[in-house]
């Protein structure tokens, strides 16, 4: 096995875990929560505005391609997507700081992705410079790769975790989702509990 194969295996392993799954509660956590954490400790919250910092880990061309991938994972449109919520800045910052342990594998995967795209594309130009249809068609061929899985995870983490980490700009991710960032709520919480008339006991022969 070449070293790059070994790297890929390592990425594969990590990214599989990073990508997690949809289980919930004990089982969801059991299977995925610990496994997701791929990083060293985050010293403290990232700095101020994302643009002011510039890119710390990605170069400009890489950042453009990563952002284009993110924008296909959560597209823009009538409502904001990954692009408008500054996800690429989150990813850059994460790889430079609190997920820095992942960054060598991530760069290897990104380099491979960019090379594969150039090889598959008859016309010159990067992934970011291509049209949306071409991007989608290509992503469908690589959307089970470790690199894509990791990008997907980071996209969603950036878009929907606290804005202080550099993504979810202005809370737009939460707004898209319909999540209200408040510290207290009062019932009714939703449509269906509003109309609930109370628990009707079963006839069990025991005191109700």
């Amino acid at each position: 096995m070449s070293s790059s194969d070994a790297d890929q295996d390592d990425i594969s392993r990590r990214s599989f875990l990073l990508s997690g799954g949809g289980l919930l509660s004990s089982v969801w956590i059991a299977a995925h929560w610990p496994a997701i954490a791929a990083a060293a400790h985050h010293a403290e919250d990232a700095a101020a505005g994302p643009e002011s910092a510039g890119f710390e880990f990605l170069n400009t061309a890489e950042a453009a391609d990563v952002e284009a991938i993110c924008a296909q994972i959560v597209p823009s449109g009538a409502t904001p997507g990954a692009r408008e919520t500054h996800v690429v800045y989150f990813i850059d910052r994460a790889l430079a700081t609190f997920f820095s342990a992942t960054s060598p594998d991530y760069r290897a995967g990104l380099t491979q992705f960019r090379a594969a795209y150039r090889a598959s594309n008859s016309t010159p130009g990067s992934f970011a410079e291509s049209g949306s249809d071409a991007q989608i068609a290509f992503l469908k061929t690589v959307d089970r790769t470790p690199f894509f899985e990791t990008t997907r995870t980071l996209t969603l983490l950036g878009m929907f975790s606290s804005p202080k980490y550099g993504g979810n700009f202005g809370g737009a991710g939460w707004k898209l989702m319909g999540f209200a960032d408040q510290h207290a709520f009062i019932p009714p919480f939703g449509f269906y509990d509003r109309e609930y008339t109370g628990f009707i006991p079963y006839t069990t022969g025991k005191p109700a």
Binding site: L24, S26, V27, F160, D193
Partner: protein, 553 residues
Amino acid sequence: MTARRFKANETVDFAVVGSGAAGGVLARELSQAGFSVLVFEQGPRFSPADFEHDELKYFFLSGLTVDPKSSPQTFRKRADVPAQRPGGPTGTQPALYARLVGGSSNHFTANYWRFHEIDFRERSVLGAIPGTGFADWPITYQELEPYYTKVEWEVGVSGLAYASPFDPPRTKGYPMPPLPVKSSGVLLERGARKLGLHPFPAPMAIASQPFRGRPACVHCGFCMGFGCEARAKSSSLYTMIPEAEATGRCEVRAHSYVYRVAINAAGRTTGVHYFDADRRERFQKARAVVLSANGAETVRLLLNSTSNGFPQGLANSSGLVGKYLMFNQGAAAHAVFENELNEYKSVQVTRIVHDFYDTDPKRGFYGGGGIDGRINPQPALWAMSEGGELPRWGADLKARIEAFPRSMVATGHTTSLPLETNNVSIDPTLKDAWGIPALRVTYQDHPDDLAFARFLQDRQVEIMQAAGAQKVWRDQVQENEAGVHLLGTCRMGNDPATSVVDKYHRTHDVPNLFLCDGSSFVTSGRGQPTMTIQALAFRAAEHIGQFAKRNEI
């Protein structure tokens, strides 16, 4: 009274290792009974204001949980494959727990189901299951019932007694009414009733009204994986620990990592070796030691405490210390409804279904479980949910994200069979940041565990369809590679050859060493172990206190 501070050369009656669900109860009960108690906690002590709503920090950067950087663990599915640190050189924890005063009772979801009578004598009722360590408990539900009641009234549980036709007998109702129903609860109840099932209000260790000096829940929604800044969650940090300290006989020593239990030539423990906050090695003398460090760390401590008299680890004459690890199984089914549920508000669970609690031999496999209605309320984790039929990217994913307020999940919580091949052991090479040999987890679900999880998932899907869901997605039932329920690893029993502790949690091998936490379990229950861990702790404390008073320790 203010909390006691023991001097360095003082001998305490009890050293309790771990301040979580079990350790908190033992500290409170033993100190109230008149004993001096020193509780050791590896992690820090948080005040309510220290808890944040920071999903990334708590779920991805070990904000509350055991940190893979300083306390690495390894995992393998079977003994014949190499164990690895999951997720690469900086990843993951196969035995996941919260490391702070109050332990995992800080970040748990607070589902507080009592075990049923059947849980304690399933082996007798169903017969042997070849290749497993399936066994009866040495105690019955009836013996434990008074202590379940104690948990409900002294720790604080909200619920509706007798609401479920499947509830085991109880001597008293709940001290607080159920928390307000959420839309997920209404829909779970609606669907389940249509199918002839018997959904009922979920018992939760969260205050639905002011209780013993704590306020009622403010419905912030950040229970699972988070600490409660409102003090409404009945964590040891807010319940048992302050009451223990109020006796003036108990000290909780944070940032104090016990790494070895001391043993003398007579085969009795004399205290514990620990690292203080500055990583200085210390020794604490104690007349008796109670390990409540959880079903993984209690094991590591015993296996790392080898000596001439105990070459294969302390209290391990049976060879069973660490064996029979059980994580529980279960899977989710996701649904979208026409109107808003807003499941990110309030506690995770308000209605549950226990119609499939018992094993039905006609199914052809062992297993039982419960179903609840909820959502994974944290936005990023929810958006990341993957597996089965969920969309992964593109316009379909965005549509699912935008349907968050109209979404819920029916989750299954199911059994794990005790297998000797599933265990916690010591990694032969890896050490933690203190130089102490690290944890290794070996685990692969029994086929019946997966089969029942799939069976129950079918019921979850049917319930949500009956409730009128517009769309239902199934997750995959996946093999566990990590767990937060750390059960069965120092099982209790009457026979020293087939168990580690007796029915009073005293180790068979060392008369003044007791183990009480998830490790004491003989079977896994149905995925909600903390209520039973605390009931066992109340019962253990009563007996241990009596032994001490009679000079029988």
